[in-house]
C-alpha cells in the first residue's frame, strides 16, 4: 500500500538491554526493554495501519487518518461544594477546562462532565459527544458557566458516565481527563474499584488532584488502572497550564490499545513486568493469557514517546554452554476482527550459561539503574507511610535510602521533593533528619510523583 502522505501513526522499535550471561545454576534473567514509537513520514518503513476502516473521521481514502486524530475525550471536572473553598478553585477549574477545550483539534469528539456525588453532562448533553470545531468549542466554554459547585464526591459515577459517552464513539483513542479536589466520600472504595475494573481497557484517563484535600492513592489509583498520568496541582492557578499540557499529550496519541506481549519458555516463571520509565508501574498482575506460554500486559495509547520496561523471568536451569530464549517481548496491536494481532516490534531476551565469572557477574547498567529507581519509588511510599503512622525511625531510614538512591541515579526532581520533607545531612550516605514541619503540599507532591523515574545517565 502506497502511503504518500505523512501518516499519523507511529512506528515502534524495541531494544533489549541485558547481561545474557548466567552462572552455572543461575536462573533469573533481567532485561530492560526500551520501546520507542516514532511518528511516520520520515522514512520508508511500513507504518502501522490506522483504524481507518471503522472511523467516521477517517479520510475518504481510508488508508490513513485525516489530519484530525481519531480520538474522543471526556473532561470530568469536580464541582462538589468544596470547590468553592476558596472560590478561586472553581474559577480556575473552569478556566483550565476552557484551556483544554481550546487545545482540542478540529474533528476530535469530546464532552464535558461535571462531577459531584453524581455525574452530569455539561456539554453537549443527550448522551452524545460533540465534534470539535470553532462553534462547538465556543458552546462548550459557554456551557462551563452552568457548573455550580455543590454536592459531594462520587468519582465512580463520573467515570461510568465518561465510559458511556466514550462508548458512543468508535474513535481509536478514547481518553478521559479527571479533576478532583477532595476525597471520594460518597461512594465506597469498593465501588470505585469496581468501576475502575469495568473501565480498564475501555478508555485511558489522566487524573489530577487540585489543592491538598484529596487522597493521593485515589488519584494515582485511577491513573494507574486507566493507564494515564497522575499529578498534583496544589495551586489552582496552575491548572490551565496543566490541562493544556495534558490535552496536547492526548492530541499527540496516535495508536491505542497496544499490549506488551511476553512469551516465556516452558517451565519459566514471570517474576515481574514493570514499566520503569517515565514512571514505575507494576504490570505483573494485569496479565491476560495470549496463547501458549504468552501473556499480554496493557500499555494503553502511544504518541511519539519512549518507555522502558523491566522484565524479570526465572527460566529452567540449563548446562554451561547452553543458550535459551528467556523471553520474547513484543508490542502487539489486537486486530478488531479477532485475527492474530499485529506485531509492532519485538525484542529477544536471551540466557547464555557460562563458567566465565567475569561475564556472568556483571550487572547490566540499565537493569541496575531501574532496579534502583523502582526501589526509590517504593521507599518513598513506605517512608511517608511510616511517617504518617508515627514510626519516625523507620521513616528516617526509608527516606534516607530514598535520598541516597535519588542522588546516586541523578533523579534531581525527586531529590528536590525529598529535600522538602527531610533535611539532608549526607546524600551519598543517605543520612537524613525528618523535618519537624512538612507542608501537606510537599508531602502529597512527593507521594504523587514518587514513581517518576529518570533514564540512565549517558
Amino acid at each position: 500500500m502506497a502511503n504518500f502522505s505523512k501518516p499519523r501513526v507511529p512506528r515502534f522499535s524495541a531494544e533489549v538491554y541485558q547481561n545474557t550471561h548466567l552462572p552455572e545454576g543461575g536462573r533469573e534473567v533481567n532485561a530492560i526493554v526500551t520501546v520507542t514509537a516514532t511518528g511516520g513520514g520520515t522514512t520508508g518503513e511500513t507504518p502501522v495501519p490506522a483504524f481507518a476502516s471503522s472511523s467516521p473521521s477517517s479520510s475518504p481514502s481510508g488508508s490513513f487518518p485525516a489530519a484530525a486524530p481519531d480520538a474522543a475525550v471526556v473532561i470530568m471536572v469536580d464541582s462538589s461544594g468544596s470547590m468553592e473553598y476558596p472560590p478561586t478553585k472553581m474559577r480556575n477549574a473552569r478556566d483550565a477546562t476552557a484551556a483544554a477545550i481550546d487545545t482540542l483539534r478540529d474533528g476530535v469528539a469530546f464532552a464535558v462532565v461535571s462531577g459531584t456525588h453524581q455525574a452530569k453532562e455539561i456539554y453537549p448533553g443527550g448522551g452524545r459527544l460533540a465534534v470539535a470545531d470553532a462553534t462547538t468549542r465556543g458552546q462548550a466554554k459557554e456551557a462551563l458557566r452552568k457548573i455550580n459547585a455543590s454536592g459531594g464526591t462520587a468519582i465512580g459515577t463520573w467515570l461510568r458516565l465518561a465510559d458511556k459517552l466514550l462508548a458512543s464513539s468508535d474513535a481509536a483513542i478514547r481518553h478521559g481527563i479527571l479533576l478532583t479536589d477532595g476525597r471520594n466520600e460518597h461512594e465506597g472504595p469498593k465501588e470505585l474499584l469496581t468501576t475502575l475494573e469495568a473501565c480498564a481497557g475501555r478508555f485511558t484517563c489522566d487524573a489530577r488532584g487540585v489543592g491538598t484535600d484529596w487522597e493521593v492513592k485515589e488519584v494515582t489509583g485511577i491513573a494507574s488502572a486507566l493507564l494515564g498520568t497522575a499529578d498534583i496541582v496544589a495551586d489552582p492557578a496552575g491548572l490551565a497550564a496543566d490541562f493544556t499540557g495534558m490535552m496536547e499529550s492526548v492530541m499527540g496519541k496516535e495508536i491505542a490499545d497496544v499490549s506488551l506481549r511476553l512469551w516465556t519458555p516452558l517451565g519459566a516463571e514471570v517474576r515481574f513486568v514493570k514499566q520503569v520509565a517515565p514512571t514505575v508501574e507494576d504490570l505483573t498482575g494485569r496479565r491476560t493469557e495470549a496463547g501458549p506460554r504468552a501473556g499480554d500486559y496493557p500499555t494503553g495509547s502511544w504518541g511519539d514517546e519512549s518507555r522502558d520496561y523491566h522484565v524479570c523471568v526465572r527460566v529452567p536451569n540449563a548446562e554451561v554452554g547452553q543458550e535459551m530464549l528467556a523471553a520474547r517481548v513484543s508490542l502487539v496491536l489486537p486486530a478488531p476482527d479477532g485475527s492474530p494481532p499485529q506485531v509492532l516490534a519485538q525484542g529477544l531476551v536471551r540466557a547464555v550459561w557460562t563458567d566465565d565469572l567475569a561475564a556472568s557477574t556483571s550487572i547490566n547498567a540499565q537493569v541496575a539503574h531501574y532496579t534502583g529507581q523502582a526501589e526509590l519509588a517504593r521507599v518513598i511510599q513506605q517512608g511517608l507511610e511510616l511517617r504518617k503512622s508515627g514510626d519516625l525511625d523507620g521513616a528516617t531510614a526509608k527516606l534516607g535510602r530514598a535520598v541516597q538512591l535519588a542522588s546516586r541515579s541523578g533523579n534531581d526532581d525527586t531529590a528536590k521533593l525529598l529535600a522538602k520533607v527531610v533535611d539532608v545531612v549526607d546524600a551519598a550516605a543517605g543520612t537524613v533528619r525528618l523535618k519537624a514541619k512538612v507542608s501537606a503540599e510537599a508531602q502529597m507532591t512527593l507521594e504523587t510523583r514518587s514513581t517518576k523515574t529518570v533514564r540512565v545517565k549517558k
Binding site: 531494544e15 533489549v16 538491554y17 541485558q18 547481561n19 545474557t20 512469551w263 516465556t264 519458555p265 516452558l266 517451565g267 519459566a268 501458549p292 506460554r293 527460566v315 529452567p316 540449563a318 548446562e319 554451561v320 554452554g321 547452553q322 543458550e323 535459551m324 530464549l325 528467556a326 520474547r328 529477544l348 536471551r350 540466557a351 547464555v352 550459561w353 557460562t354 563458567d355 566465565d356 567475569a358 561475564a359 556483571s362 547490566n364 547498567a365
Partner: protein
C-alpha cells in the same frame, strides 16, 4: 561442508509404532523427532558422544538430509552443500548402521571449503533465521522434542537455542581434513578453519590449512576468526600458483588476514548491548597456517594456535612447529618459569600477539621444514592442545592410521578434547605428508 553421523534408519516410530517412510524426519502421527537416536559407537564416536540430549537431536536434524531435498527447509542455516545429495543416495542409509559419515562434504567444490558459513555471520542478535519473516522453520526442537523452532532459531516451547551451522563443521578432501566444534562449555563456536588444495607454480600441488581462534574477551570473535581464515586462504591460493615461495606467501597471507580482522572494527559495527563486558575490545583472533608443497612444509602463525609434526613411525621424534605468542611461552622463553609452572598459571593463555585492530604490531612468524619421513601435520587451536600440550602427548593421541584417514584422525582428536572436558572451542586440521598422490592435480 559438514559431515555428521547419519541417524539410523527406523522403520516404525519409536514412540507410537507408526510405520515410517524411509526419509521421514518426524513421525507423521505423533510428531516425534526421529533424529533422536542412541549415541554412535563407530569411528565417529567421539563426535556423537558430545551430542547430549539437549542438542543431539536438532544437530542431527539440522544436518541430516531432509527427504525431498532442501525445499522443505526454511532455515537459512541450511548449507548449499547439502542440496545436491538427497539422503537416500548416501551409503549411510542402509539399515543397521548406527552412524556413517555423510559423504556430501567430500563433494564440495574443490578449493572452496571453509569452516565458516558462506553468508555473513551477524553475531548473536542476527541469529540464524532473522532474515525474511516466516512463521517458523518447521523443525522440532531437539532439547524438549515438543516445540517447533521459530525463525530466530529458538524453540517455541522450551526456548532452547538450536545448533548453529558453526557448532560443528567438518571437511575432508584429498590432502587435508578438518573438524571444528563448539566444545562443551561455550555457547558458540568462535574458531574457524579454511582448507584447500591448489596448484603450485611449478605444477605440483599445494595443500593449505588455516585455523583461527577468536579471542573471547573481544567483541565478535566468531567474525574475526572467519574473516582471518578466509583472507589467509585466498591469499595463499592466489600467491602459490604464481610461484611465490611458500614462506613468503604465508607471511603475506597472515598480513592480509590481519587487515581483514582489523577492518571488522570499522565504525558502523555498533557494539552489542548484551555483550557489554566485551565492548571495549575490537574483534581479534589468532591464526596458524600450514602449507604442504612437495617435500616442503611451511607454517605461519600469530597467537597461540599451533602446528605439530607427528611422524608415522612413533619411534622417531614428533615436534611442535610453532612458538606461542603467549604469556606462558614468554615466561618459559625468558627462563623465568618452567614450562609446567608457566602453563599452570592462570595467565598462561593470555596471548601476546593477535590479529585485530588493537594489535600492537603484526609480526607473522613463519618456518619451513623438510620432513624426511611420512607423517601428519596437526594444525589446531588451544581447545585441542590444552589436552595434549607437548609434541609427545599429541603424538600419543594421534591414531596410527592418521595419514590414511585424516578425517577420522581429526574427529578422534576432537573426541580427545571433548573427553577431557571440551572447555573451549576445538578446531583441528590434519595434513598427511607427503600429500597423497591420488589427490587432484597430483605431481
Amino acid at each position: 561442508m559438514s559431515q555428521l553421523p547419519q541417524p539410523p534408519q527406523l522403520t516404525v516410530c519409536p514412540a507410537c509404532d507408526e510405520p515410517l517412510e524411509p526419509a521421514d524426519n518426524f513421525c507423521g502421527r505423533c510428531g516425534a523427532d526421529l533424529s533422536a537416536l542412541p549415541p554412535a559407537r563407530d569411528g565417529a564416536g567421539p563426535v556423537a558422544a558430545r551430542l547430549r540430549p539437549e542438542h543431539g537431536g536438532p544437530e542431527e536434524g539440522d544436518y541430516r538430509l531432509a527427504a525431498p531435498g532442501p525445499a522443505g527447509r526454511t532455515d537459512p542455516a541450511a548449507r548449499p552443500a547439502t542440496g545436491p545429495h538427497p539422503g537416500p543416495a548416501g551409503p549411510g542409509r542402509a539399515p543397521g548402521h548406527d552412524t556413517v559419515p555423510d559423504p556430501r562434504a567430500t563433494d564440495a567444490p574443490a578449493g572452496v571449503p571453509a569452516g565458516v558459513p558462506a553468508q555473513a555471520h551477524g553475531g548473536p542478535t542476527a541469529a540464524p533465521g532473522s532474515g525474511p519473516a516466516c512463521p517458523g522453520t518447521g523443525r522440532t526442537c531437539g532439547a524438549c522434542r515438543a516445540g517447533m523452532i521459530d525463525k530466530d532459531g529458538y524453540c517455541e516451547h522450551c526456548g532452547h537455542a538450536q545448533p548453529r551451522e558453526r557448532d560443528h563443521m567438518e571437511h575432508e578432501s584429498a590432502g587435508v581434513a578438518a573438524v571444528s566444534d563448539r566444545g562443551l562449555r561455550h555457547h558458540r563456536n568462535e574458531d574457524a578453519y579454511a582448507v584447500s588444495t591448489t596448484a603450485q607454480g611449478d605444477g605440483g600441488t599445494a595443500v593449505i590449512a588455516v585455523v583461527s581462534d577468536g579471542v573471547s574477551s573481544a567483541t565478535r570473535p566468531d567474525e574475526a576468526s572467519a574473516a582471518a581464515v578466509l583472507a589467509a586462504r585466498e591469499t595463499l591460493m592466489t600467491a602459490l600458483p604464481l610461484g611465490t615461495p611458500p614462506r613468503e606467501a604465508t607471511h603475506e597471507a597472515i598480513l592480509r588476514a590481519a587487515e581483514a580482522v582489523a577492518a571488522l572494527a570499522a565504525p558502523g559495527h555498533r557494539p552489542r548491548e548484551h555483550d557489554q563486558h566485551r565492548q571495549e575490545n575490537a574483534p581479534a583472533c589468532t591464526i596458524v597456517s600450514a602449507v604442504v608443497t612437495g617435500d616442503l612444509l611451511t607454517v605461519g602463525w600469530i597467537g597461540d594456535s599451533r602446528a605439530y609434526w607427528v611422524p608415522d613411525d612413533r619411534a622417531t621424534q614428533p615436534a611442535r612447529l610453532t612458538e606461542d605468542d603467549s604469556w606462558a611461552a614468554q615466561m618459559v622463553a625468558a627462563g623465568l618459569m618452567s614450562e609446567a609452572e608457566a602453563y599452570a598459571d592462570e595467565r598462561a593463555h593470555a596471548i601476546t600477539g593477535w590479529l585485530g585492530a588493537d594489535a600492537y604490531e603484526i609480526e607473522p612468524h613463519t618456518a619451513s621444514f623438510h620432513p624426511d619421513r611420512p607423517g601428519v601435520v596437526v594444525v589446531c587451536t588451544d581447545g585441542l592442545w590444552n589436552y595434549a600440550e607437548s609434541a609427545e602427548q599429541m603424538a600419543a593421541v594421534v591414531p596410527p592410521d592418521a595419514r590414511s584417514r585424516p578425517l577420522e584422525c581429526a574427529r578422534h582428536l576432537l573426541g580427545h578434547a571433548l573427553d577431557g572436558g571440551g572447555h573451549d572451542n576445538v578446531t583441528v586440521a590434519i595434513l598427511p605428508f607427503p600429500t597423497p598422490s591420488e589427490g587432484a592435480g597430483s605431481a
